[in-house]
């Protein structure tokens, strides 16, 4: 057996490696431990991706099928039947560019919301930074996003839409949707440990959220006096950003984007604090 070369020399230090106490300080978030276990986050996300499409007949194609089908239904319902405006773009690509971040966001929420409960066996048996579980669940759908993005590129070529320099900002909007998903997930996953109601509410929540986001319609149809309130929904800003970056619609209002960003930050900070405070009792309650 090889010697324990990979571990820090504990003999040199007399300070305890770990102190176990009833509670910790309010602001003791210890995000360093999450950073140190990024490999665990990676493996958990990778497991989620692998397991999801194991023993399916068409595998990753499912990732594309869902937004494509939604796009077709939207095109039929909103464009053909009710004549919804689409910022002067062909309606299919107009809605698909929005469905791309939305599908990622809703996948992330629905997977991570019950992630702690689904990993109860792990949570009650092994210690590791619990944050790794919802973070991994939010990251896993990025694979689906990448595959769907390829379809979008094909559609853009078909409609002869070439993006300009705003394309460079696309990662920022993707990051914003991931951070929003994480912020919401921290609340939902921690709440779900105690209240299983959350698992039931999530599909409904996402349905309502979808209609409150400019997916089937352009944000420009929202009356001016509601715009500020509307932009509290960070996903609205994300979608407008996607359309601007990819399809060259009007640039999102930076002040409204700032409101969206502030909403995300508040949600995220609150979520991290709530999660860290409740995670002490996860193993007892789950």
């Amino acid at each position: 057996m090889s010697s324990a070369s990979g571990m820090p020399g504990y003999a040199a230090s007399s300070a305890p490696t770990v102190v176990i106490e009833p509670s910790r300080g309010f602001m003791d978030l210890d995000l360093m431990s999450l950073y140190r276990s990024w490999e665990l986050v990676y493996f958990l996300a990778w497991r989620d991706v692998k397991v999801r499409y194991k023993q399916t007949a068409i595998g990753i194609v499912w990732a594309v099928l869902q937004p494509l089908a939604t796009m077709l239904i939207f095109t039929l319902l909103f464009s053909r039947l009710s004549g919804m405006p689409s910022d002067g773009l062909p309606y299919p690509i107009f809605s698909f560019a929005a469905l791309l971040p939305w599908t990622f966001f809703s996948q992330a929420i629905s997977r991570s919301g019950s992630s702690l409960v689904n990993n109860a066996a792990l949570v009650t048996k092994v210690y590791f930074p619990r944050l790794a579980i919802p973070v991994a669940a939010v990251l896993a759908p990025i694979v689906d996003f990448v595959v769907t993005f390829a379809i979008l590129l094909v559609m853009m070529a078909y409609y002869r839409i070439s993006p300009g320099w705003p394309l460079l900002t696309l990662p920022l909007f993707l990051l914003m949707s991931a951070v929003t998903a994480l912020a919401v997930s921290l609340w939902l996953s921690a709440l779900c440990v105690r209240y299983r109601d959350v698992a039931v509410v999530i599909p409904f929540l996402l349905q309502v959220w979808q209609f409150l986001s400019p997916i089937a319609y352009p944000a420009s149809v929202v009356p001016e006096r509601w715009r500020l309130l509307y932009s509290l929904n960070p996903i609205a800003g994300v979608i407008e950003g996607f359309r601007w970056a990819l399809l060259g619609t009007a640039m999102p209002d930076l002040r409204l984007l700032a409101v969206s960003g502030a909403a995300v930050v508040v949600l995220l900070v609150g979520g991290v604090i709530y999660f860290r405070q409740t995670e002490l009792t996860f193993a007892d309650v789950v």
């Binding site: 176990i20 958990l44 210690y127």
Partner: protein, 431 residues
Amino acid sequence: MGDLAIRIDGLSKRYEIGAIQRRHDTLRDHIVHGFQSLVSRRTQASAGPTEFWALKNITLDVKRGEVLGLIGKNGAGKSTLLKVLSRITVPTTGRAEVYGRLGSLLEVGTGFSPELTGRENIYLNGAIMGMRSAEIDRKFDEIVDFSGIGPFIDTPVKRYSSGMYVRLAFAVAAHLEPEILIIDEVLAVGDAAFQKKCLGKMGDVAKEGRTILFVSHNMAAIQNLCTTGIVLANGDVVFSGSAIDASEHYLSSVSTRRSGLVDLANHPGRTKDSTPVVQSIGLLSNDRHSPYGESVKPGEDLVFEIAYDTGDAVLDNAVLGIHSPLGDRVFTVGARYSSDFRFRMSGRGTLTCRVRGVALAPGEYSVMVAMGSRIQRIDYDTVEDALSFRVETGDFFGTGESLLPGQGHFAVRSEWSMVPVSESVDTLAEA
């Protein structure tokens, strides 16, 4: 403090039983309860959750290199203590300091994902337990080798037999190389050869001067592997000392000696789904003065008397299992194994069983009794630990020599002969 591995100071853990019972709270419950408490405060107070202290003010130092056995009945607090130390749950009061990397085998294979292959699960499980992937890369071959999974490494683990599953899981955990290793009853699984391998691995770890906390109900394993031991009961440390003393303290505290004639109504050893049939069991005495005895000498017949009331059932089999002090079955006798047994038991009656010619080594034994039917269920009624008896040190061999503890379960007569090929001069001279 340089030689300490774990320092536990006044550690307590409280669970609220009420909260555990309705732990899958729904929001509705909370609203309803909140409303009720508004309406009447008194009912809320009286229906408050009951507390349960799983650990009570535990203070304990574990030295580096110590192999500590944790002993206690189910619910004594062993698992809670391990969960607190491995940071799965937080204590209610008190404090513990852990010096060095701590790895736990609380339940091997919990991080396994059935859909993934053995190879993938090694990486996943390793990461969950805190190994870096470079570290896993380095130890990968060793892990596969130890598990004996070989060609199945790229098969999804859901296709593994349970033995293979556990072997792979233990192999990953055993290569975590923590300074402090926590082991909870992992050795109950796997075949004998693999168990031996695991014990060997634990022995290696101990020899390297690392600290082990070992929980087991197998006192033989505790005595073999551990240097020190503590006995937990109801969340308290009730004994602390050497592993052998601790396990003996535990054994003497749990064996509620029932000997002579034992009434089995309300016997705690009756298994959960038994229908009470066996009324009493007694060991008949070889002594004229009292009908029932507590002890026999090696080689004497064991005569058991079993009173039964089958009610409406018709049973045709009875089994006695004799257990050693460490809890393993020494032998089994069954009515059906006897060629002249042709009875059917219905209603009330008495069975007598004479076990001939078995010379048990001196010590304490306990008897499991079961009655049943071959056609329906063999274990219609099972009572574990129904009766205990002692085998005294007797002059079985007729030489004045007797077996020592640890020399096996049976006293067996043997005949020896010798064929000298060449004898030394000294012996000849003596003769």
